[in-house]
Amino acid sequence: MSASVTTVRRRRGRWRVLPMPALHLVFFGIVLAAYAAALALDPGLLRFLPTVPQLVGAFGEIAVDPEFWSAVGATGNAVALGLSISMVAGSLFALLLSIHPSIYASFRFLVDFLRTIPPLALIPVGLLLMGPTLRMEVTLIVASAVWPVVLQVYYGIVHLDHRFIETARSFRLGMPRTVWFVVAPGVAPSFATALRLATAMTLLLAVGTELLAGTDGLGFLVGWYQQAHQIPRMYAVIIVVGLLGVAINALIKLGERRLLSWIEVAR
């Protein structure tokens, strides 16, 4: 893998006239210019698309709007709650499944069925049972984000190398230290994958329920601004949602690199 990456780098280096960040800036400028040109050529588009100054202005407006920040807080709160509950509950359930193969066999059909229900399908049910509340949003998030965690962590535990555990036993490491020094590092990569999958699911569900069920948050604001014909603001909030996703991904990647840098070596 590292070999192919270096060839790509080397080849790219030959093409390079400017350093990469400068190229990115130039490209971003080209994208903006093309966008402005398209709007100038077809003014009919202005009904749906904001001009660049309008978009920048909308960012300025929402940045000083307390409503926007309370929406950021509401979405962040739901995401944090939903994600942490999913990770903890999913890992515990995976631990239960891994105790004995017959437990996994018994639960298998239920897990497979529940995890394939398209999560948004539960919105009407959630609305009916709990109304448009934070509790409903978090419940829906957990109901769909918990399954990738269960499966990833379960496979992580099952695929642990038994020789390591036997070695730990022959050194009389004891249960707590075996879990900490052998099981936890062995499962960590699957746990990281689970976190990544669950995060994507969580953000999708949070924004989806906010938009479709009207719970407080950024998704609600997107629909609200569209209905109020505040189109530049709608785009600004959509972009914020995307940036939020990028930021969370970057954070997870950073944590993975910090904590799991040894995996590359182990492979």
């Binding site: 893998m1 192919s4 190229l23 069925f113 398209p118 989806g208 479709l212 995307g242 996703g245």
Partner: protein, 263 residues
């Protein structure tokens, strides 16, 4: 003789082991909902009855077919565009480097957030739903295609280059099969995203589709119809995932063969 009967017993045991829990769950739900029916949880028999009358009648044509055709068309577009663009971008490292931040941004953007925008741009027709499904599903396939091609061993690419293999053969015999183990990861993710967006697009300004039916049943308090819709969506998800799992195993059979050969 003896061994075949014991293997039969083993099979039966395995089936019993994986079936007892769903059966027990079903029986419990059946008993609880018929003994103490509530508005929220109607008796299971009446949910099943409405499942049969709704989805095996005209509901199939008015709601299920539009939903499934949007899903199929949207996903097909995502597959073709994702793999095609992935092949092109892998051949152009500089373009890939420049486009990558935008692709990462769009992948991280939850597709449902674009619903109001697409409805404004295209109206509440099937086309806007298909675009939403295709848009949401394309990123995992695209990014995994690029990753998969990058993971093909360099010697294989160089061998192909030195034998002057025709470009079309490079694509169909080296790049696509070589990247497929990764592409299939993207397809799995994309399938579930597509299904989510299919449902989501039917909740927001729609007049037909399974999601629309469920939402309407909820708003008119026909909870047995609502649950029958949720049940149908669950079954569609399950069948889709299992079918693709089987397909994937067949498509990747050569890989397992190869790895056992080399051992």
């Amino acid at each position: 003789m003896k061994s075949s009967s014991s293997s039969l017993a083993q099979t039966l045991r395995r089936i019993a082991l994986s079936a007892w829990m769903p059966v027990v769950a079903l029986v419990i739900i059946w008993i609880v909902t018929t003994q103490s029916p509530s508005v929220f949880f109607p008796p299971l028999p009446s949910v099943l009855e409405s499942f049969v009358t709704t989805w095996f009648g005209e509901g199939f044509v008015t709601h299920v077919l539009p939903s499934l055709s949007n899903l199929a068309v949207g996903f097909a577009i995502a597959l073709v565009v994702g793999v095609g663009l992935g092949l092109i971008l892998s051949a152009l490292p500089l373009a890939h480097a420049l486009v990558n931040p935008y692709a990462q941004f769009l992948r991280a953007l939850p597709g449902v957030a674009l619903l109001p925008l697409l409805i404004m741009l295209m109206g509440t027709n099937n086309a806007s739903k298909i675009v939403l499904i295709a848009f949401g599903a394309v990123w995992p396939i695209l990014l995994n295609t690029i990753d998969g091609i990058a993971l093909i061993p360099r010697e294989q690419r160089e061998a192909v280059a030195s034998y002057r293999v025709r470009p079309i053969d490079i694509v169909t015999r080296l790049l696509l099969p070589g990247a497929f183990p990764r592409i299939t990861v993207g397809i799995r993710l994309s399938l579930s995203i597509a299904l989510v967006l299919m449902v989501g697009s039917e909740y927001y300004g729609a007049t037909q589709g399974i999601g629309f039916y469920v939402l309407q049943a909820k708003q008119t308090f026909h909870t047995d119809e609502m649950w029958s819709g949720v049940l149908l969506l669950g079954l569609i998800g399950y069948v889709l995932s299992m079918t693709y799992g089987l397909l994937e195993r067949r498509l990747l059979a050569w890989k397992e063969l190869q790895s056992t050969d080399s051992k």
